[in-house]
Symmetry: C2
Subunit: 336 residues, 2 copies
């Protein structure tokens, strides 16, 4: 059944039921005074620091229907926002979802999209409280998400790194970019070793909300997520903090799948410039960063340090000890 057959309001009615059922099972749903169906949602807010972020995925810019299912699109649209909340050290609370859809889109596909959205909503306790559905020649999903941080809790910003801080990163980098390369290649992807691992990393990333308490508990107050690639994102953090950074290429954490499936240069390219890993970069005095490592074990690594340098300068020391400056390609710059 095409959207044109049931119309905007028919669709909203169907989705509204799915969302209401899902919200009933959430803790965050208990703060919802009025959900979907009125001019605005009404949410009970305690005195707090509220986080607000928004992120969009556009067809043929951020994803292609050729390789991304509607359910994965829904999941990932949530994760890119959840990751921003994690990077600030908050907990997600609620979100509004805007869908831009072509009239020819099938209702079943939109429901699958919402299954992905609600799956992430459920896993990370973030109620969907409203949204909008508009006709558009390209599919796009815009989510605006609210999160909270209690008043006595640190917010992790990106403008607070100081010379002498160690630079840490969570998880492993590069697998999402490897997955994207596989998905976009014309080869039969099943021929690629470990293809499923990489494809999952790209299509179903996980936000590192699980690590927030450990980071903040260790005193970390500088963090951002790796959405555009380690080098570009670290450069942005450094620019915001008016510092530079030196990282060791060999210390960049990469998992056994990527190192066994791709050449060394390719692995580093994926990790440095690939992006969409949704891991967290964090910096802090060594005592704090070492404490994070004690708590997280293999889930975090030290990759370098913050130095006095031109703001945003990131240098990479390679395996021979040669230091080269990262020339900003600005990570993913969507207009260049």
């Amino acid at each position: 059944m095409k959207l044109g057959e049931i119309g905007e309001f028919g669709l909203i009615e169907r989705l509204g039921k799915m969302i209401a059922d899902s919200n009933m099972l959430l803790n965050s749903g208990s703060n919802l005074i009025l959900g979907i169906g009125d001019d605005a949602a009404v949410v009970n807010v305690e005195h707090s620091k509220q986080l607000v972020t928004t992120d969009t995925l556009v067809e043929n810019v951020h994803f292609s229907h050729d390789y991304m299912s509607w359910r994965d699109l829904g999941w990932k649209s949530m994760v890119v926002n959840l990751s921003d909340i994690a990077a600030m050290g908050g907990k997600p609370t609620s979100a509004v979802v805007t869908l831009g859809l072509d009239t020819e889109t099938s209702v079943e596909d939109v429901e699958e999209l919402y299954n992905g959205i609600l799956s992430a909503s459920s896993d990370y306790d973030c109620a969907i409280v409203g949204g909008d559905i508009v006709k558009s020649p390209v599919t796009f999903v815009t989510i605006a998400m609210m999160g909270s941080s209690t008043n006595d809790t640190t917010i992790m910003q990106r403008d607070t790194a100081k010379p002498g801080d160690l630079v840490g990163v969570t998880g492993f980098l590069g697998c999402s970019a490897a997955g994207l390369q596989i998905l976009q290649s014309k080869q039969n992807i099943h021929d690629m070793p470990n293809w499923e691992h990489f494809v999952r990393a790209h299509l179903n990333p996980l936000p590192r909300l699980d690590l927030v308490d450990h980071l903040i508990g260790s005193g970390i107050n500088t963090s951002m997520d790796v959405s555009d690639g380690l080098a570009g994102d670290l450069s942005k953090l450094c620019k915001a903090s008016q510092v530079g950074a030196v990282i060791n290429r060999l210390d960049i954490p990469m998992d056994e799948f990527i190192t066994s499936s791709f050449g060394e240069e390719e692995c580093f390219e994926f990790a440095l410039n690939g992006g969409e890993d949704y891991e967290l970069i964090f910096t802090g005095p060594s005592v704090q960063v070492l404490n994070v490592l004690k708590l997280l074990g293999e889930s975090a690594a030290i990759i370098g340090k913050i130095v006095e340098d031109s703001p945003g300068n990131v240098s990479v020391i390679d395996q021979t000890g040669t230091k080269s400056r990262y020339v900003s390609r600005n990570g993913w710059d969507h207009f260049s």
Copy 2:
């Protein structure tokens, strides 16, 4: 200068300065702990009922660059959301802005768009706290807006109308639809009488935040804004409240410009089905509605009453006393 020349991050830097300068002058800016430039914005929130809404304008669906300037697009993108906050009885507090833009868009046009956004931000004290800019083959503007209502203040919902309630509406209806017809017609618009009045109504609508205190102060707790046309929107209000409504065609408020420029049938068509007036429909016991009229004078009118009927049924009594049922065309249904 095209966006492709300065890139996403160059653009964000330019807009960030405009936004920060504008926020400094706002009351709502004082609650902003951390503005644009990090993974999320941080806003100080008091214990309150928070309103959340989102609305999108898509090129060639909701507007055309042929007749809408970038500045007007920015203004209207804010107003469609501000109007939702007004309809709930709240005050706007903050918003995040997502722009979908083609690479060929000029930087000056985007700055003009933001001039429109910031003009509304300033007029209605709603700080812009974040956003996202993405590449898109069609221009779209998605704004997610937060508002607040103190805990002891009524929220105006659309599911609280009761049989016997009078139905009121603020302002005058139909001028926006008349303006759209003029803008889309191939004639020289300067030949149309009062063309500027109608065109302004369409391109620069005003949210009725100025009337919220009077409505709530009079005890009104049922309201929605007229975005899709009086008949369709009243039908939605009635459906949500499980009631019907009867309205008198002759009581629908229309200004002298529309009645002198268009025929009677056309005027009613604009008012009933045109939409985008961003006036408020409200219902309540007669003592409350009469009190609103006393406070607002010509800025409000009684157009009918709520009755027991199939949910959503709206009947219109014409000048001869003949009652006809409004056949829902669902106002603007973007997929039908």
